[in-house]
């Protein structure tokens, strides 16, 4: 993410895939699933990796900047 947006806003993946979250901003962000499936803290200028555990289309947002929205399409 950069300049307070998630890019790309929609990504396709599979269960078991690792997602590399790259925060290029000076601001702290989070990638937080609306259904509570994941909540990844993303410190400024850091990269964090997480593994997808559940299938489905999961909308997520940043808890600190709720205008930031995106979705993951996770195949089984």
């Amino acid at each position: 993410m950069q300049d307070l947006v998630f890019a790309p806003t929609e990504v396709s993946a599979k269960v078991g895939d690792s997602i590399k979250w790259v925060n290029k901003d000076v601001f702290a962000h989070t990638a937080t699933a609306r259904d509570g499936d994941f909540d990844v803290n993303l410190p400024p200028k850091k990269t964090v990796t997480s593994v997808l555990s559940k299938a489905g289309t999961i909308e997520y947002y940043c808890r600190y900047h709720p205008n930031m929205n995106a979705a993951l399409k996770i195949a089984p």
Partner: protein, 209 residues
């Protein structure tokens, strides 16, 4: 509400008129000082709110303000150092600081829901005023591309806060999500909708507490 609205208008006109009164656009060192001061003011207000606010969503909003504005100001300090620009104090910065100190003292006397309501109302007014000044005066006046770019980042974060402050008092993340629909950073209707969301949001929040 009339009092708070007029405070917002006063803040906005101070930002505009103080600079105009000098008969020229603010210089880069002055712009850097004004932008930094604007951040410091919001951080001070937020730190007071973290200590005083009763509503957890208001408190959490205040924590967001400290985190984001400290990040912008740190970046601003690094940049002026790199550019060898020395921020220059000026009438606009002085007026802003004086007004903010008065507001902080006024808010300090309030308690509980009255404090929460006054803090949120002031945040709405303040972010609106600063956004206006950034858009119409500070960004167009700035001549350094790197400083301009940082001001644009600042504007983006302030706009996000302006949207978010309206929903800051909703109880629970679900309600916040619903409220934000269509309130994106580039939404042209943002300003028109803000007042309604801010007041409506707060009303709802209070009823649930």
């Amino acid at each position: 509400m009339f009092v708070r609205l007029s405070a917002a208008i006063a803040a906005l006109s101070i930002l505009g008129s103080a600079a105009l009164a000098q008969g020229a656009k603010p210089t880069d060192p002055q712009i850097a000082h004004i932008a930094y001061t604007a951040g410091v003011i919001d951080i001070a207000a937020a730190k007071q709110a973290i200590g005083k606010a009763g509503n957890k969503d208001v408190k959490s909003f205040a924590q967001d303000m400290v985190r984001d504005h400290e990040a912008v100001n740190k970046q601003a300090l690094d940049l002026v150092k790199k550019l060898k620009v020395t921020p220059e104090d000026n009438d606009t910065s002085k007026t802003l600081s004086k007004q903010a100190a008065d507001k902080l003292a006024e808010l300090a006397k309030l308690k509980g829901a009255d404090y929460d309501k006054a803090y949120v109302a002031n945040e709405v007014a303040y972010h609106k005023a600063v956004n206006g000044a950034l858009e119409t005066l500070l960004i167009p006046s700035d001549t350094n591309p790197e400083l301009k770019s940082l001001l644009q980042t600042g504007l983006k974060i302030f706009q996000g806060h302006q949207n978010d402050v309206g929903t800051a008092v909703h109880a629970g993340a679900g309600a916040r999500g619903d409220c934000r629909t269509g309130a994106g950073g580039d939404d042209p209707d943002r300003d028109a909708g803000l007042g309604v969301r801010a007041d409506g949001g707060f009303g709802q929040g209070r009823r649930q507490h």
